[in-house]
């Protein structure tokens, strides 16, 4: 069963197609790694799932609910972290999460629980604008995790984190499907990280979905095409390079 499914999802800005006819199939309970170079359309796709950008073509369903008819119902089930940490700088970390919790109709304890989950409890009373970049990133993650949503959409969640922080977030994301029975859609530039945390992969380039499947299927596909299969990074680069050459050298 697919918890997120898109059909020919398209987003164009004038003549430029940021996302072009993408058919995604994200299984329930999976950690789905969304890969692609800058400008491939990963963030735009995620924004469309959250109703932050309007699709210009195609459709998608999340947990069987269709967009845009069920936008609010969809958002009730989705925890998200898009682009950069978003917070009220004049409020403490705890106050920020209490606001999100109140909008979601959660008990006050949910904010503390989310802070604990990302390791921000000792800094809960510090103003969010005084947080370091890594702490802001964790606060953003906490606001996505609060209330244990069944679906998590995380756009570059490890940006700005140190290696220890990256390891912690990766372990956390990897554990989420088991812990909270949730599905995670995560985009990252760190291919080695995706290799370690995702069990399904989608590769996007110039708005087109080049591959979708498990890591094993990607390896098999790469072997078939004669691409290197030593690690995800080499395979990814080969897939992207081949697509770019096919498009006449557009990078």
């Amino acid at each position: 069963m697919y918890i997120i499914e898109t059909k020919q999802l398209t987003k164009s800005y004038g003549n430029f197609a940021a996302v072009s006819g993408v058919d995604l199939h994200i299984p329930k309970g999976a950690v789905y790694g969304f890969l692609g170079p800058n400008g491939a359309g990963k963030s735009t796709t995620m924004k469309m799932f959250l109703g932050l950008a309007k699709p210009t073509g195609g459709s998608f369903t999340i947990d069987g609910k269709k967009y845009p008819e069920n936008r609010v119902e969809i958002l009730k089930e989705v925890g998200s972290f898009i682009e950069a940490p978003a917070f009220y700088g004049n409020l403490t970390g705890k106050e920020n999460l209490e606001i999100v919790g109140r909008i979601l109709g959660l008990p006050k304890s949910a904010a503390l629980e989310a802070l604990e989950l990302v390791g921000l409890t000792p800094y809960k009373d510090r103003l969010a604008r005084k947080y370091s970049l890594g702490m802001k990133q964790r606060l953003g993650l906490a606001s996505a995790l609060i209330g244990r949503p069944p679906i998590l959409i995380l756009d570059e969640p490890t940006n700005g984190l140190d290696p220890v922080g990256i390891h912690e977030i990766r372990t956390l994301i990897r554990s989420l499907p088991k812990q909270f029975d949730c599905t995670v859609l995560v985009s990252s530039h760190l291919l080695s990280e995706v290799e370690l945390m995702a069990d399904h992969i989608g590769i996007l380039n110039h708005g087109h979905l080049l591959f979708e499947g498990t890591l094993e299927q990607l390896k098999a596909h790469a072997e078939n095409q004669g691409y290197p299969t030593d690690n995800l990074e080499d395979t990814f680069l080969a897939v992207i390079d081949a697509d770019n050459r096919q498009r006449g050298g557009i990078r």
Partner: protein, 265 residues
């Protein structure tokens, strides 16, 4: 960082439809939480006190100018000082609207709000619902000062109190379009300085409009300068109707603006 099962997992059910409710409702209480440490509340208190101090200072310095006038005490005071007091009120509104949206935009919080099960327009309406009690508080301070001036220098009677209450109610109604327009501008401009600049220009434009021209006085930033005392009944009805219609029109404009912005994103 904890990755093991949480001790509080029994506090609310995981993935129960009731665990993450959210919804469309207006949440002025939430908006009140958001303005913590922004200086907005002190700004309202200070501005209210400053505006309230104006008639007191005026009467303390030159009360003999007003003692012989034939009008009612409230009318005398309002005609003497309301222009300055309302100027402060409108300026406060513009600043408040800028601060309210600056907190949303400065650290990207608005993006988070838009990805929550919440209508973006409810943010706007919650903010206006937060502004109204703060405006009432400011007007109450000003009314108290005017009442004090009546009692101390002129003559204070129950009629004066009623007249004062009506005047403040009328002023609140006429301030609504300016409050809504300021919030609409603040919502539209991501850079606080642009909405602040437009607001200040609008206020100064309003002060330059001829007061005897009814149509020009309907400019949202010009209406709060009107004084109820001594105004003819049909003019009162005209201003009240215009304020209500402008308010409704600005609410509709905000909803349309948000829809266009969302769909063009």
């Amino acid at each position: 960082m904890k990755t093991q099962s949480l001790s509080g997992s029994d506090r609310y059910p995981v993935h129960d439809s009731t665990s993450r409710r959210g919804g469309y409702g207006l949440k002025p209480g939430l908006e009140y939480k958001k303005i913590k440490r922004t200086g907005l509340l002190p700004a309202f208190v200070c501005c209210g006190l400053l505006a309230a101090a104006f008639p007191v200072a005026d009467m303390a310095v030159r009360s003999e100018r007003y003692l012989s006038l034939p009008d009612s005490p409230v009318s005398i005071l309002l005609h003497a000082d309301w222009q300055m007091m309302s100027m402060l009120n409108v300026l406060l509104l513009v600043v408040a609207a800028c601060i309210l949206y600056h907190t949303e935009v400065s650290d990207n919080a608005l993006l988070k709000m838009c990805s929550l099960p919440l209508k973006e327009s409810s943010l706007f309406f919650s903010k206006i619902l937060l502004l109204i009690p703060m405006l009432i508080f400011t007007l109450a301070l000003e009314a108290a000062a005017l009442g004090f001036c009546c009692w101390h220098w002129l003559s204070f009677s129950p009629e004066a109190l009623t007249e004062l209450a009506y005047s403040m109610g009328f002023s609140l109604l006429l301030l609504l379009p300016a409050a809504l327009l300021s919030l609409l501008l603040a919502c539209a401009c991501k850079n606080m300085w642009i909405s602040l600049g437009i607001g200040v220009v609008c206020i100064f434009t309003a002060t330059m409009l001829p007061a005897d021209n009814f149509l020009l006085s309907l400019f949202p930033y010009a209406m709060p300068f009107q004084i109820l005392a001594g105004m003819q009944k049909e003019t009162i009805t005209g201003f009240s109707t215009a304020a209500a219609l402008e308010s409704l029109g600005l609410c509709a404009a905000e909803i349309i603006f948000l829809k266009i912005r969302r769909w063009s994103a």
